[in-house]
Amino acid sequence: MRRLHEKTGTILRSTLLGTVASVMTFGTALAEDLPYGLKSGKPYDGTKITYLAPVATQYEGHSERVAEFTDMTGIEVEFEFVPFKTLLEKILSVKVAGDSDPDVINYLDAWGPALKDMLVPLDDQMDADGISMDRYFAAHAAGATYDGEVYGMPLRGHAQLLFYRKDLLEKHGLDVPVTWDDLVNVAAVIKEKEGLGVANYYSPKNGQNIFTWVNLLWSNGGELIADGKVVFNSPAGVEALQYYADLENKFDVNTSGAKSRDPYESSLSVGAGNSAFFMGWWWHYGSRILGKNTTLQADQIGFTGMPAYGDKGVTFALSMPSGINVESDDKEAAWEFLKWVSNPDLEKRNVIEKADRNVIVALHKSNLTDEDVNEANRGLHMAGAKSLADSRIFPQLESWPEIQQLIANAISDVVSNGTDPQEALDTAAAAAQKLVDQK
């Protein structure tokens, strides 16, 4: 009887221990299963962080799915959306005030050099969690890296593409343009036959008319700034600007109103059926060229890489990394959020789940070449991947935003007022050099 008791006790103890061990093992397994390098055990449970981002469908997608992150980590995230136009002012006000809020800041790569002292370098955290910038295209990775240190995770980024009316090119038996001369020839035919031109944009508003010209410049072998010297007024730059202005004033291939148009109005012009071509960021495809307010069907629009000026095209790319505010009281929790929000799975779901919103933007190489992503977006991302493979970014200078505006003014001056391109670029270059020389 006593033996039976002992045996029963042993069995019970074994069972109990086994159960405890199983629960512990299961719990550990659960914790270790947290994806994207998120820390197990909810060490930041109850922490509340804020995320400053521009208004865009992509971020709405993040906001909608953020409950999943909170469930895994216990960290609550409050999204603060501001229009892109006022984002820089908002960030600068945070910087001047030394605010700890927002904890995570989304910024344009061109602003990075001037903002980097308010951001936490992320290299150590990335190394610890096995995150590499290799998952992004070089241009997007470079946009988040200053002086060899990474300050943000690329979260929003664009490829430039040429969008064209596929149906009209097919109707007139025209090939898709590969070079700028091809574009001029094809656009001239379409404009003559259909009355629809290229939706170019030369308005200096927010310095955006430089986005197309810089492709011409780089493709023509020119540079913006080299070894601390402003060189965009080189013969290559002048030739590129003359050609860019000729699209409007000599070749007459643009849709009327180009001198005052900005990119938003240009893509809308294609969407409204008033223009046959648009060169710009791919996000325009989802909401302005083909959106609920436009008249075109998907099979009417084609897309390809930006035209090449010579035999090789070089395309401009930009990105919007997200970094951690150096004044944040919850940097570790903010890093957990950054790991989650920049993960490729979330990005993929954002661009293929189209029921609530049409998100285009993706940055991971794996997603841009992914079959599901391309099927859901008619191959747009594969075209984007090709464009990004040869993309470059603007020079990483603190004063770049103002230099960009100087060039934009020069472009507008040449196109609208007939100013000599050499004279306009020389004037801009002299002012830009002063900005570059400022210590």
Binding site: Y202, G257, S260, P401, N409, A410
Partner: protein, 293 residues
């Protein structure tokens, strides 16, 4: 508590509020203008640089001088345009009656609208593809159908002025209506009895008596024209080229694009000095001191 301290107690809240929202920022801006302050490098002003920022503006920055020229062009155009339109509206509506009262109420609406909304709306109105103004003008004047209103330097400035006039004229007209209604009727009737034509009555009787109100309206409009920013930012982006880049827009760019707050503050303060100077000149011209007999 004495009467003296009692009255100070009453104005103290207002004084504190004005000090916090106007005086402190103004004094801080002056202080900043004498300092080096690059937002990209520092959260606060750094070195004291005396008048370096001011010297740079006048002797080493052609873009600044150009923006001064653009600002004065805009001021002259917008003040003349707004005052003339306001005077015309005032002359039409300075009568008693329900219909006039209702009309006077309705025309204030443009002034009540946000400048940001107006700037965006006018940009859309003038769009060559979708704009209602563009279509309307093209219909009435076919020769103007191909004009890119905001893509031509002269037209861009004209539309900047007209947009501003649309905003300000109703408010100014209310001021002038008040002035017109306060003119003694017997002076106008006496001129009529003497056989003065309508134009003579306006020129020799009404206008001189309206001059004090007109002066205030001009000063007010000049001050606001000096500060023009919203329409430049939203309508033209300072372009084409820099043909509509006013001083405030230029100061904004220096502060928030070039991150040079010291220089931006100096430009802003130059603007304030110009504003004070112009206001003084206005009053001296319009209200000369009476000579002692």
């Amino acid at each position: 508590m004495t009467d003296r301290s009692f009255k100070y107690m009453f104005i103290a809240p207002a004084f504190l509020l004005v000090s916090a929202t106007v005086l402190y920022p103004l004094l801080y801006a002056i202080w900043t203008s004498f300092h080096e302050w690059r937002l990209s490098k520092s959260r606060a002003p750094t070195d004291f640089v005396w008048f370096e920022n001011y010297a740079r503006a006048f002797f080493d920055d052609p873009a600044f001088l150009q923006s001064v020229g653009v600002t004065f062009t805009f001021i002259i155009g917008s003040v003349v345009s707004a005052i003339l339109v306001a005077l015309l509206i005032a002359l039409l509506l300075s009568r008693q009656g329900k219909i006039y009262t209702v009309t006077r109420t309705i025309i204030v609406l443009p002034f009540a609208m946000s400048p940001a909304l107006q700037g965006t709306s006018f940009r859309f109105f003038l769009n060559q593809e979708f704009g209602v103004f563009d279509r309307l003008i093209g219909f009435i004047f076919p020769f103007a159908a191909e004009i890119d209103w905001l893509g031509d330097s002269t037209w861009a400035m004209i539309w900047l002025i007209l947009t501003d006039t649309w905003h300000w004229a109703p408010f100014l007209s209310l001021m002038l209506i008040g002035g017109l209604l306060s003119i003694p009727r017997d002076t106008i009737e006496a001129a009529s009895v003497d056989g003065a034509s309508a134009w003579m009555r306006f020129w020799t009787v009404v206008l001189p008596q309206l001059l004090p109100v007109l002066a205030i309206a001009c000063v007010l409009k000049t001050i606001f024209s000096f500060k023009m920013f919203e329409y430049v930012y939203l309508l033209t982006g300072g372009g084409p080229g820099t043909s509509t880049a006013t001083l405030t827009y230029y100061a904004y760019r220096q502060g928030f694009h070039a991150y040079d707050m010291g220089y931006a503050s100096a430009i802003a303060f130059v603007l304030a000095i110009l504003l004070i100077g112009v206001s003084v000149v206005y009053f001296r011209l319009l209200f000369p001191k009476e000579k002692e007999v």
